[in-house]
């Protein structure tokens, strides 16, 4: 992000580009700008930006524009705003933002109002502090006039303006109406050492509502006369409804209607249990669909493809001559499976489409796309669409997609009443956009002294951005551009990434981006095109590529007789922050020190979402089971806005990643997903959760990603410990394939 985020940018962020204007300022009104439309704003309110509203009765309302899905934006972003505003973040009344171009994500890869890519703090750090500073200065100017004092004698502290010489105080609310008439001043932001709320491990602001049951997720949305729908979706990829028999279902209690929608057959009732029972009584004839899709077939396709030349991504030196002169060369095939996100809250959305108005409630990660989906399905303009954000019961990338929203809209249009679509766990497991499977081929060479002299690698996988990007691109294009043009642009971009010479960066991130200083390198990518829906999954390409590279690294270190930590440290000499987290992880984990009998350590590192992370896992092998006892993680994410939330996210990513590394996979048989619920796609449970120790490196650098970077190193750290224990490399996830059938009678 540009360091020159200026007043114009703030205005842009405040005013919005989509026709909705949120700023109430005397100066703006005088300039003839449209009146504010921030929901609930009243005359006398001070609305200095799209994020903040201060009312005359001293309510300080913070509009959170990055969704809260557990990662802690509600708290961290409140801290960012509060720091310059000089107020306890616990004093904020927090509202969840609707959809508005004012809230476009400034991350160039996202570009529209959405939460993902570990971008929230990174992209809000400057604008939110600036918004706080602007508001504070306007309040201070209003106070100076009220006190008939010099500006220098007025100080903002704890939600009040203090007249220092007299000790008189005015609450922000008392100054709201006056502050609204001040012009936007130039502001200077505090240096990091002067931060008041940034850097504090304050209690999560959503903790209270999440322990007393009052937190409202999408599935909890309640509106009068709400109907509930379930959808019978294709049992196999690409299968279409031929016909359906709903006679028995229609006779069942509470059933309102049964009809076809583009996604399948919708069953609408007054209650969820009525809809599910009726759905079980609907007989649907489906076309065969993509019956050939089968995990064994796919695996063979990928393994065959990865052996052939593909699109060059990065190259330097000459791997061929380096390999010829090397002491040892090793070749390896690595594999990673499809994965579901399996958010604890199944997919759901609520919609009303009546009288040329549309309202949507959704636990979405991408309000911009939710609103765009509403426009596309209903044909209504944005001005007729009200979007209401809810909390998310987990996201992990799944909720950037709008399939559940589209279903709700189609059904709402037909029944002309409020309706909530609720997915079962089985629906959620079987109709997702999965983390792509991937196969990697790598060849590395080591010289007589154990140095890695050459590394070439080719990865075969579907493209996440190529499959999903077109929809995003279409939504980014300004609203004035005709839709056919937008669609054309989207298709072109999708086509380019799908095997026409441009490589989706998420296909190779974590591999071709490796920081090791190796003289001869070559990375290629082979894009796979076949009908399995894929999407972003926590840490995206890093989630499998770092496993491939960091385990292969240990194989090469072993071949050259080098300690894997020492060799990493040597090859990271030109990446000082990355080397520093590696060294601290090794130190805190006691690398090289004796362990109890039967325990082994593995180390891995990665840089993702601009954040440096290293992890050491302590493992024992018990029969065929892998037991992870302890994980030490070190993270350098720049300024730590809330260190305890950062620790929580690293713990979270490690546990999420361990479940995937050890046993989770989505497999296909005759075009259908074989897994259905948490017994056969089982996340990590408490008793198998290791002791986790997270160290956050103090830093004054700009903050970087937090939600995802803890994940990539965990699988290779454990795999490397298994290599240390057994002498045999682990080249495929999940590690305990075939051992996943745990006791199902919990």
């Amino acid at each position: 992000m540009s360091a020159q985020l200026t007043r114009r940018d703030l205005l842009r962020a405040s005013l919005g580009l989509g026709g909705a204007f949120l700023l109430e300022l005397g100066g703006c009104a005088a300039n003839g700008l449209p009146a504010p439309v921030q929901p609930g704003a009243r005359p006398g309110d001070f609305v200095p930006s799209a994020w903040l509203r201060i009312t005359p009765d001293d309510k300080v309302i913070f509009t959170l524009d990055r969704v809260e899905m557990g990662q802690g934006t509600m708290t961290s972003h409140a801290q960012l705003l509060a720091d310059e505003l000089e107020i306890d973040p616990a004093r904020f009344v927090i509202e969840l933002a609707g959809a508005n171009r004012a809230y476009d994500n400034q991350d160039p890869q996202l570009g529209l109002q959405s939460t993902g890519g570990s971008s929230s703090v990174r992209t809000s750090y400057e604008p939110l502090r600036r918004a706080g500073a602007v508001a504070r200065e306007m309040l201070r100017r209003a106070a100076a006039k009220r006190f008939t004092a010099s500006l220098d004698d007025c100080r903002a502290e704890e939600g009040t303006l203090l007249h220092v010489p007299s000790g008189r105080r005015l609450r922000y609310g008392e100054l709201a109406a006056d502050a609204a008439r001040e012009v936007i001043p130039e502001v200077t932001l505090k240096p990091a050492e002067k931060h008041t709320w940034i850097g504090k491990s304050i209690t999560r602001l959503d903790a209270r509502t999440k322990v007393d049951g009052s937190a409202v997720y999408g599935i909890d949305v309640s509106v009068p006369d709400l109907l509930v729908a379930v959808v019978l979706r294709p049992p196999r990829l690409g299968a279409q409804v031929v016909a359906f028999d709903d006679r028995a279902a229609r006779a069942m209690p509470g059933v309102v209607d049964v009809f076809r929608i583009p996604q399948g057959v919708a069953v609408v009732a007054h209650r969820y249990w009525q809809a599910t029972r009726a759905a079980a009584a609907v007989k649907v004839d489906w076309t065969e669909g993509e019956i050939w899709v089968d995990s064994d077939t796919l695996r063979k396709m990928y393994v065959d493809r990865v052996k052939l030349p593909a699109t060059l991504v990065r190259s330097h030196g000459n791997v061929g001559s380096a390999e010829r002169e090397a002491a040892h060369t090793i070749e390896a095939l690595h594999e990673a499976p499809y994965l579901a996100h399996a958010t604890m809250e199944p997919q759901n959305a609520t919609a009303i489409v009546v009288n040329d108005r549309c309202e949507v409630w959704a636990p979405t990660q991408a309000p911009a796309l939710t609103r765009e989906a509403a426009r596309r399905v209903t044909g209504l303009p944005y001005a007729s669409i009200d979007f209401h954000q809810t909390l998310l019961g987990g996201g992990f990338g799944r909720r950037g997609f709008q399939d559940y929203v589209e279903e709700a809209l189609h059904i709402a249009m037909r029944v002309k009443k409020p309706v909530k679509v609720i997915w079962s766990r089985e629906d959620d497991m079987r109709s997702s956009m999965y983390r792509p499977m991937a196969v990697s081929w790598a060849r590395g060479a080591v010289d007589a002294r154990g140095n890695i002299v050459s590394w070439s690698q080719r990865i075969a996988s579907q493209t996440v951005v190529g499959e999903t990007g077109p929809e995003w691109l279409q939504s980014i294009v300004p609203s004035g551009v005709p839709h056919p043009l937008k669609q054309l642009g989207g298709r072109l971009a999708g086509g380019l990434l799908n095997g026409n010479g441009v490589v989706d960066p998420t296909n190779v991130e974590g591999a071709s981006t490796m920081a090791y200083d190796i003289p001869n390198l070559r990375f290629e990518h082979a894009v796979m095109r076949h009908p399995v829906p894929v999407g972003a999954w926590r840490s995206v390409g890093n989630s499998q590529n770092v496993f491939f590279t960091e385990t292969f690294f240990d194989e090469l270190a072993r071949a050259g007789g080098k300690d894997p930590f020492v060799l990493r440290r040597e090859l990271l000499a030109k990446a000082p922050r990355q080397r520093a987290v590696l060294e601290l992880a090794a130190e805190k984990a006691g690398w090289g020190k004796a362990l109890p009998k039967g325990r082994f350590r593995g180390i891995a590192q990665s840089k993702s979402f601009e954040t440096h992370c290293a992890e050491v896992a302590e493992v024992s092998i018990e029969g065929k089971d892998v037991r992870v006892h302890r994980v030490v993680a070190v993270v350098d994410c720049g300024v730590a806005v809330n260190p305890d939330l950062i620790r929580a996210q690293i713990e979270s990513a490690i546990i999420f990643g361990l479940g995937a590394a050890l046993r989770q996979e989505i497999t296909w048989k005759r075009g259908a997903v074989e897994q259905s619920n948490f017994h056969d796609f089982e996340p990590l449970r408490m008793a198998e959760t290791p002791e986790i120790e997270v160290h956050v490196v103090p830093s004054t650098e700009s903050p970087t990603g937090v939600g995802e970077p803890g994940l990539p190193p965990i699988a290779p750290a454990v795999a490397n410990a298994i290599l240390a224990a057994t002498g045999r490399p682990v080249r495929a996830m999940p590690f305990t394939r075939g051992l996943a059938a745990k006791d199902q009678a919990r």
């Binding site: 999440k210 322990v211 049951g213 408490m686 959760t689």
Partner: protein, 167 residues
């Protein structure tokens, strides 16, 4: 008509006996703090207490609750927050929060059954509640915090100090 007591209040519902208690709580009584996660007693998000014992409300027929006492998350801290809820806040346990009502009600049941659970007891009982955000280390700490705050003679068992945190 099925009548039972929910969070201290007698409620009657007009639904078939075999409807899951979960959906009666959520849809008939508007108590949405009890969550739907799997529908098959695999995740524990729907945990409530039935006559003081934890049950998975997604597979508990409402008929089984007839004449009994049901405690949901809304009832647990209705007057003042329960000690477990307070410990949860102190340890910053929730992330997305969706599974937490079930986690908390499982923890309350554990502490009722055994006032001073060992770390192994905690793992054994809470193992049945899934959390996709991975709040397990903090759940351990929060329960440890409740136990650590007990008076020395409370609970009637030996009171060796539990290891504080894994931080």
């Amino acid at each position: 008509m099925i009548t039972f007591v929910v969070n201290g209040v007698s409620r009657s519902v007009e639904v078939p006996e075999d409807v899951p208690l979960l959906w009666v709580l959520r849809e008939e009584l508007g108590l949405t703090g009890t969550k739907f996660g799997c529908g098959a007693a695999l995740c524990g998000a729907c945990t409530v207490h039935l006559d003081g014992s934890p049950v998975r409300s997604c597979v508990t027929r409402v008929g089984e609750a007839g004449g009994k006492q049901v405690l949901t998350i809304e009832g647990l801290g209705a007057a003042t927050l329960h000690e477990v809820q307070k410990a949860w806040i102190a340890e910053n346990v929730p992330q997305c929060g969706y599974c937490q009502p079930g986690q908390i009600l499982s923890a309350v049941a554990l502490l009722k059954a055994k006032r001073r659970p060992t770390p192994e007891d905690i793992d054994a009982v809470l193992d049945a509640n899934l959390c996709r955000c991975g709040t397990y280390p903090r759940i351990r700490r929060a329960i440890g915090r409740v136990v650590g705050a007990l008076a020395p003679d409370e609970g009637g068992e030996q009171h060796e100090k539990k290891e504080e945190t894994h931080r």
